[in-house]
């Protein structure tokens, strides 16, 4: 079923985000920076508050009532994440700080054990720094080589070139699900099948994909998938790594400390089973509970199919509206029914920083800069772009305000 923008319960959704009542420059904020960090949904704010007021305690440690409640809520959040992403087993969900930590965990724990001198690592030109730097660090540690799958002129991955590079037999393909700059959705199921044929495992960065798309990781075909809470209407400081159970179980620990052990003696330590093996120290309990509440709200109130359709409708409206602004260069795939956000652009004669500054005067919040994707920026031939990114609360009126703000930027710069 296709849900159009008209049937999406946008007003009911917006009521659930207190910050949207905030004024910037004397008008309600038009928050078009959800790709950097989405606003937190009331259900998540309240769940964190309830934990702190009534249940605050450490998890997996005491047999007292509060610790039992905290443990149940924390592990309940793991169940929610597992259900939301379509995990076959709840033990496949490891809580981490953010997607960056999830990717570092794989590059460290799986990478050090499985990638050696002369081995190849395949990345794409559209990766966020968080899915580049950990692999460069791995390559330096073990003496591996990195290949780069190119992006074509329309901002899509060059799939023929990707297949050719898979022919070099990399140990791992690290690839984003959705580009944080271009809005490109990579066909992960197809790509994962090719990668497995070539003998590579697939590590997917889902920081941007998870907030926009329904997930069924149990059948998608990738081996690891990283998500972060603060782009999913949940607090900062919490994210999750989903991994295939057999791979996780074969991996050595990441960080050492409490919670991740079976037994510690002076002679040495044996480690806990997954996921505890990868959750050393007291975790971000309140934030995990908040993440669970946010996902319950998304799945219960909206459903990810409706979220995806809203995202597509807003991206389509934005691409249509911005095409009317003179001198605007838009990056990424062309307008189409399946195009996702964000929408990145460059206004001729006005630097992205100045665009962002002038939009802020209109209460419109966008990001300006390299978006932690400097390899892609080099490919696009720009130092910085401005980026409008969307959330479940984004309205077409806010996009109209973006377009008006851009006209004003042209006026200020005498264009």
């Amino acid at each position: 079923m296709t849900v159009t923008a008209g049937t999406f319960p946008i007003e009911r959704v917006r009521e659930q985000f207190p910050v949207l009542a905030r004024e910037v420059s004397g008008v309600p904020v038009a928050y078009l920076d959800s790709g950097a960090s989405s606003q937190q949904v009331l259900a998540s704010i309240e769940a964190v508050d309830d934990y702190e007021r009534r249940h605050h305690s450490n998890v997996h440690r005491g047999s007292h009532t509060l610790s039992g409640e905290a443990t149940a809520a924390y592990e309940g959040a793991r169940d929610t994440v597992a259900r939301h992403v379509g995990a076959a087993d709840r033990r496949e969900v490891v809580f981490v700080r953010n997607a960056t930590e999830a990717l570092n965990l794989v590059a460290r724990a799986w990478g050090d054990a499985n990638v050696g001198a002369g081995d190849r690592i395949l990345l794409t030109e559209m990766e966020h720094h968080s899915n580049i730097v950990p692999w460069q660090q791995l390559a330096e540690r073990v003496g591996a080589e990195i290949d780069w799958a190119p992006v074509d002129e329309e901002g899509a991955l060059d799939l023929d070139a990707l297949r050719a590079l898979l022919g070099r037999g990399p140990k791992v393909l690290a690839i984003t699900h959705v580009s944080n700059v271009l809005g490109t959705e990579n066909p992960l199921a197809e790509i994962a099948a090719w990668a497995h044929e070539a003998g590579a495992i697939v590590v997917a960065d889902g920081a941007q994909g998870a907030p926009k798309l329904p997930l069924d990781l149990g059948s998608l075909g990738v081996d690891f998938y990283a998500i972060t809470g603060h782009k999913l209407y949940a607090p900062t400081g919490i994210g999750a790594l989903w991994g295939r159970l057999d791979l996780l179980r074969a991996m050595p620990p990441f960080l050492g400390g409490g919670s991740m052990i079976r037994k510690v003696t002076r002679a040495g330590t044996t480690y806990a089973d997954v996921p505890a093996r990868f959750e050393a120290g007291t975790p971000a309990i309140a934030q995990a509970i908040g993440m669970g509440a946010a996902l319950d709200w998304l799945d219960g109130e909206l459903g990810m199919e409706a979220v995806r359709d809203h995202e597509r409708a807003i991206a389509d409206y934005t691409l249509g509206r911005l095409a009317e602004v003179p001198g605007l260069r838009i990056f990424g795939p062309p307008r189409g029914p399946e195009r996702l956000g964000p929408v990145s652009f460059e206004l001729e004669g006005v630097h992205a920083h100045d665009v962002s500054e002038i939009l802020d005067r209109h209460g419109v919040a966008v990001r300006a800069g390299h978006h932690c994707a400097q390899v892609l920026m080099e490919r696009l031939g720009v130092a910085a772009t401005a980026r409008a990114s969307f959330g479940v609360y984004t309205t077409t009126e806010e996009i109209d305000r973006l377009a008006c703000g851009l006209e004003d930027a042209r006026r200020v710069f005498g264009l």
Binding site: H351, A352, H353, E357, A383, A384, V412
Partner: protein, 142 residues
Amino acid sequence: MEDQLYRDQILEHYKRPHNFGVVEGADLEFEDTNPFCGDEQHVTIRLDEDDRVAEVAFEGKGCAISTAATSLLTDELIGKTREELLRLPKEYVLELLGIDISATRMKCAMLGLKIVKSAAVGQPAEWEDEGQVGDPSEAAAL
């Protein structure tokens, strides 16, 4: 009414920056980026026989604030010694700009001054008010 930030003088220096280019046979040079946005500037300086700035130029792509700041700053450097360059306070650039610079744009305003100081010292200059450090390998040999 004139814009409070994007004053005519700022826009004029942004659109037609002074001292834009490269000094051939430069005695001092440095290149650095604003890590916040990836903008780059490259400053080249030729010294006279008294080790004073005889010629200065900059190139790069940046926002109105960083471009205007470096354009205005390079207009003032002729005749200064390296020690004088190193002593220039950030208020010097703020006065040249003559506009209120918010905390989020301070790195833009100071990029050129930071690079001029780095060129003078031959390695990334240290700043008390920001944590950014350039790549020492980019420092030109004196």
